[in-house]
């Protein structure tokens, strides 16, 4: 075996640090994801390449090859096999990470259900891209169409948020026994370099306990158990009932984890982020991921426009949204921005928002924008604001003509 010698890194300069016990690096979203997997000391990474996710598993392959990361890394034969392998290792008690995108996520659909209903705390990264017509660019149709698989879904806006959300994801998944999918935008995030504060390993270790097997506790494999056998009707519903109970704890548990994360790392997150939402608000833009960044800039010029960024999408954070909207006047327009098409009149965001706001009077508008990676510049957001105020239709395709 080749011994890899790793140069000891010079200690960081003792400059005034915004976040103590961190290094400030310039990282693409994908590398931030790989860095998080390393910091979370994952034990098993089954991998299969797919654009635009590939550089996540490439980076993990590199780190494991160099001995910087102690995981078992295996090149699988498909995404279906990737998730089936993740399932096997997680059943046997390993902390598992993998990443995929678009077609890979669609192909793994069957196993996504199985992992969730096995109640395995697997964490994955999905770099969103759509299906046919063949397209590799940013789109959330892939992950949003998997919203009913039972996975918790968190959407990140920056490299920093991807890294931070993955660390939180392991704590959340292992507390509620539900897998977590952290989603980032193709290229706008996955391949865009940003300043990222990377916590020191010991700071993460203090926050995230190692998985049970590493502490010497018995693993399931020597207890002669059967996992996943045929379940007759009189037992089947019990498992779903227990899942149903658990999923309802997630909204609060995610906030608890985020709060603990804030105390440990100094960066604060919530299930949703409400900006400029109050009695004066005429329009609320509802966004996810990198479109939220653009919208942040635009609403600065519109004191009458608020922004609701969805970070937790599954389970849908209805309570947090109702809290955020508590002060809104009844005629406030809710403008959902869709970087997805799910085969229905309304996109995934509006479908969920209607559900959350059922019984509330707010007029709702849906805006398809940025499908298949199309840029959503400030001018598109301006058009959306204008249409939300003046338009007569309830669904628009913006800047597609």
């Amino acid at each position: 075996m080749n011994k890899v010698s790793i140069a000891t890194e010079a200690p960081p300069k003792a400059k005034t640090s915004l976040f103590p016990r961190h290094r400030e690096l310039i990282l693409k979203g994908n590398y931030a994801a790989a860095e998080a997997a390393k910091l979370c000391r994952v034990g098993f990474v089954p991998a299969y390449p797919i654009t635009p996710q590939t550089s996540i598993v490439e980076r993990i392959a590199e780190m494991t090859a160099k001995g910087e990361m102690g995981a078992t890394y295996i090149n699988m034969d498909s995404e279906h096999s990737v998730f089936a392998a993740a399932m096997g290792a997680a059943i046997a008690g390993e902390r598992v990470f993998t990443a995929t995108a678009g077609q890979g996520l669609f192909y793994a659909h069957e196993v996504l259900h199985a992992i969730a209903h096995f109640r395995l705390p697997v964490v994955m990264c999905n770099v969103g891209r759509p299906s046919i017509p063949w397209n590799i660019w940013s789109d959330q149709s892939d992950s949003l169409s998997q919203r009913d698989t039972g996975w918790i879904q968190l959407y990140g806006e920056s490299s920093q948020e991807v890294l931070d959300s993955l660390i939180q994801a392991y704590m959340l998944a292992e507390r509620v026994h539900i897998p977590v999918m952290v989603v980032l935008d193709a290229f706008y995030q996955s391949h865009t370099s940003e300043n990222t504060w990377v916590p020191d390993q010991d700071l993460v270790d203090e926050f995230l306990p190692p998985p049970a097997f590493q502490t010497g506790e018995a693993t399931a494999a020597n207890q002669h158990l059967a996992f996943g056998g045929l379940i007759p009707p009189e037992h089947y519903f019990k498992f779903n009932y227990s899942f149903w109970k658990a999923i309802q704890e997630v909204e609060e548990e995610a906030e608890t984890v985020a709060e603990a994360f804030g105390k440990q790392f100094g960066r604060t997150y919530h299930n949703v982020e409400a900006i400029n939402i109050g009695p004066q608000t005429k329009v609320v833009l509802v966004t996810m991921s990198s479109i939220a960044t653009t919208a942040r800039g635009v609403v600065q010029h519109h004191p009458e426009v608020g922004l609701l960024k969805l970070r937790l999408f599954r389970p849908f954070p209805s309570r947090a949204i109702l809290d955020a909207f508590a002060q809104l006047s009844p005629d406030t327009r809710i403008a959902c921005i869709e970087r997805n098409f799910l085969g229905d009149r309304e996109g995934g965001v509006m479908q969920e928002m209607r559900r959350a706001l059922y019984g509330n009077p707010f007029p709702m508008r849906d805006f398809y924008a940025g499908l298949g990676g199309k840029d959503v510049p400030p001018s598109t957001i301006e058009k959306i604001i204008h249409l939300a105020k003046e338009g007569k239709e309830d669904v628009y395709w913006v800047d597609f003509e």
Partner: protein, 313 residues
Amino acid sequence: MQPAMDFLIKEEQLYSGALSCRGCGWALLARHLTSILGPDAVYVAPASCFSIISGPYPLNELKSTVVHTVFAAAPATATGVRAAMDRQGKKDVPVVILAGDGGTFDIGFQALSGAASRGENILYIVNNNGAYMNTGVQTSSATPYGAITTTNPDGSFKKTWPKDLMGIIAAHNLPYAATCSLAFLEDFREKVEKAKRMEGFRLLMIDGPCPPGHKTDPGQSIQIARLAVEARLFPLFEVERQQYRINYRSASPIPTAECLKLQGRFKHLFQPENKQMLQDIQEHTDEYWDRLLKLEEISRNHNVSTVRTVQAG
């Protein structure tokens, strides 16, 4: 009363009450297999008869851990279990797949090839009963030429030859692959023992008796399995790193029709208008045997190296 096979099985690793049909090979196969591999083995079962036989929730027929997984990905799930066992210092724990022919020849084929190519340290057991029997006898790519299934009923009986899984799997340059018959228990047990001693991806294909699917008398399961070997419909051989060795040569091989005529799924072949098909099956069987002889002859010119998987890193 003690079962008659106590002289081979020292300690049962199965509980009684397997949910198999009368005359099914799975229970016998599992009894012998588990008695050799011991209680530490972890079994991975895709959707299959065995997944049912080994027990619906909350039962477990095996005195071992069983992971029931999705149809297409038993080798992938086993890869994850294997990785976890290795990481936890349990390199000696056998990780064993128990699959049918549908989960092996068809829907699980890609995952099988992937795990075989990676040289995963896994033992793969395929009980080949020649159709999707658990779902009620539908054609698989292992279904014999001429057989009737519910998806090839009557006049539309299977008109293509089954996939040569052993040839394909041997081409993966595995440490060990072998065919086994429940009518040749000592040979089967020796092959399990041999596979157990080896490291890397190993595959055993067992001829699986299935009275409801083959339309046979449950009391004749072992006899038919024996005739299949004697007629060379299911020759017993093993392959180590592409080196073939035939394990059984009949002193007086019988015509294939002697085995086929006991199976209702081939009943129509014995009508006068299908005479040619019976001949085709005989010729195909003879050709396959000749090919095995030639492969064995070629193999004699090579030394079968000590089988050992080279670990990466």
